[in-house]
């Protein structure tokens, strides 16, 4: 079906986009319909994604093909099922074991990632040259002062008074300047998302209608 030369899918897409955008005026039945449809469909979609991309290739298929060779997969499967035990009051405590394993695993993984990727890496990069010459030296001093003052701001073991208070205040200024830069940068990215949606409405939906 191509009403006015535009595929029906594009019509539905444009209608739902306009329904969502109508929220900018005020809450209305069209927005409520699109919102409920979006939430419900996305939930169903993710159930499908998890089944197809996680459960089937990583659990069901290996077990079906070689059960005893992949018997260890029963452990994560059991942990996953245990999460649902919270709905059975007599064994609800078992759900906590599954949660504990899940959290413990990720804490271990992230510990090394953060340490190796962030802390050591950034500490090394903060060791800047104070003899780089000219403007570079000035920038390096700004980097050094910025890192130290922000670290002092995030020092919680002492009240920020006196000299410590002044340095931590400097840290806040550095943070706010970086937030300002980050704000502008991210807004630019969001504007491009908005342009993408309007490009769809104008070029994919409206233009063929006007042309036909």
């Amino acid at each position: 079906m191509h009403p006015f030369g535009v595929p029906i899918g594009v019509w539905i897409n444009a209608f739902l986009t306009l329904c969502i955008l109508s929220f900018l005026y005020k809450d209305n039945p069209f927005f409520r319909f699109a919102e409920s449809l979006f939430a419900g469909m996305s939930l169903g979609y993710y159930i499908g994604i998890v089944t197809e991309n996680t459960l089937r290739p990583n659990l069901f298929r290996p077990l079906a093909q070689n059960f005893w060779g992949n018997v260890l997969l029963l452990i994560p499967m059991a942990l996953g099922i245990m999460l649902y035990f919270r709905y059975i009051p007599s064994v609800a405590w078992l759900a906590r074991i599954a949660l504990a394993v899940y959290i413990g695993y990720y804490v271990g993984v992230y510990l090394m990632q953060k340490l190796h990727g962030d802390i050591l890496f950034q500490s090394r990069d903060t060791i800047v040259s104070l003899r780089a010459g000219g403007v570079d030296t000035l920038w390096n001093i700004i980097v050094m002062v910025g890192v130290f003052s922000v670290l002092i701001y995030f020092y919680f073991s002492a009240e920020h008074k006196g000299a410590l208070g002044k340095v931590s205040k400097l840290g806040i200024y550095f943070l706010m300047i970086s937030f300002g830069a980050s704000f502008g940068y991210t807004i630019m990215a969001r504007i491009s998302l908005l342009m993408g949606r309007f490009s769809f409405l104008v070029n994919t939906w409206l233009r063929p209608i006007i042309s036909s």
Binding site: F31, L43, L99, L120, F148, Y155, F156, S157, R190
Partner: protein
């Protein structure tokens, strides 16, 4: 035009002249061996080359046949790491290059077998730092458990939590608590649940309505436990209702649309946006501000902090979120961890400070100590 043709001819001659020179490659001392200190995912190739051409890396699991190209490198590089190997398999290698229309190859080297190593020596610095951090955390946690007072300064945003709950109570409206969009694998979400417990206790005491809409199923489950426990600890288990903690959807923007609609329809007096957020942060915070709610945010996601700072009344910046959860819960484990992190920060500042001074004096010793590979 003639000049142009002449220029083209010169360029072509130049290319042919130096191009043929580039193909004149000779390879010596070609060798293949397991990459040391790795997880068994790669094999290192080394050679000594004369000439500046390109060489192709040929690999096979048999000594004399079935070689195929798996990569290429400049002969002058003298090294290549093959990451496309499986652990425990024998691999044979040759180098190949083009010379005057012919394909030349080195002799076969191998077998080389990728093996995983127990210890990655390049990460010794990470091991030492982890051991130090463990020592500090265990020390301070034990001190906290034994009742030694561990001082943590009060964070400005925390004073406003009581105010915000009080405001919702006075207005007779609900509190919306949004625990971020990531799962329990994210430490911010765990800190958020700790703060949720404190707030739920307050709402139980004051009899204020609270709603916690969730995106992640595991967080939803944990948040229900948290709120239920809070009401139990506050001595008001009868006031707890399962509907206080709801599940919306797993999609980021569908979740954002549902929560913003909830804000507009139900006009909560107070919104807490505490946890890990991404692009939905400004959508949520701006809508909350538009409906006149007092908003307290907290996240360690640096790109989202500017949005919370501009659209919320109070914001817990980065690590303040974790400190806040420790401060509010008075859990010895959390207090000890925050204290250990402070000591670690001081140590890092000293190391970096010494590093800057020694680097200025011409020594790269400290800088190399922190090298990550």
């Amino acid at each position: 035009m003639r000049l142009w043709y002449a220029f083209i001819m010169i360029v072509v001659c130049f290319n042919v002249w130096f191009g043929s020179d580039a193909l004149a490659v000779e390879i010596e001392d070609f060798a293949a061996q397991d990459t040391p200190s790795d997880g068994g995912q790669s094999i290192d190739l080394r050679w000594v080359a004369t000439g500046r051409g390109k060489v192709f890396i040929l690999r096979s699991t048999a000594r004399d046949s079935a070689f195929s190209v798996v990569g290429e490198a400049l002969a002058s590089d003298g090294a290549y790491t093959d990451f496309g190997v499986e652990e425990g398999v024998n691999y044979y290698y040759r180098l190949g290059w083009m010379s005057g229309g012919d394909t030349l190859q080195t002799h076969t080297v191998g077998p080389a077998v990728a093996k995983s190593n127990w210890f990655r020596k390049y990460r010794s610095n990470a091991l030492v730092t982890t051991a130090l951090m463990f020592f500090l955390v265990i020390t301070f946690v034990n001190r906290a458990k034994k009742g030694h007072p561990l001082y943590i300064r009060r964070i400005a945003g925390l004073s406003s939590i009581d105010e915000a709950v009080g405001r919702a109570t006075e207005m007779g409206k609900k509190i919306l608590y949004i625990p971020g969009i990531l799962s329990l694998s994210e430490i911010q979400t765990i800190a958020s649940l700790s703060i949720l417990k404190h707030i739920a206790k307050l709402t139980a005491i004051y009899g204020t309505d609270i709603e916690v809409p969730n995106k992640d199923p595991l967080v939803f489950s944990a948040a229900r436990e948290t709120v239920r426990e809070a009401y139990l600890e506050a001595g008001k288990p009868d006031q707890y209702r399962e509907e206080m903690v709801t599940y919306l959807t797993y999609d980021q923007f569908a979740y954002a649309a549902s929560v913003t609609a909830k804000m507009v329809r139900e006009k909560p007096a107070t919104n807490f946006l505490i946890g890990s957020f991404f692009a939905e942060s400004l959508i949520l915070a701006e809508t909350g501000q538009a409906v006149g709610a007092i908003q307290i945010a907290g996240t360690a996601d640096i790109p989202q902090l500017p949005f919370f700072v501009t659209a919320c009344d109070y914001t817990l910046l980065g690590e303040e979120l974790f400190a806040a959860s420790a401060y509010l819960s008075h859990e010895p484990v959390l207090l000890g961890s925050i204290k250990a992190q402070d000591v670690m920060k001081a140590i890092i500042m000293v190391v970096v400070g010494i590093g800057i001074v020694t680097y200025a004096l011409g020594s790269e010793f400290i800088k190399n100590l922190l090298l990550t590979r």
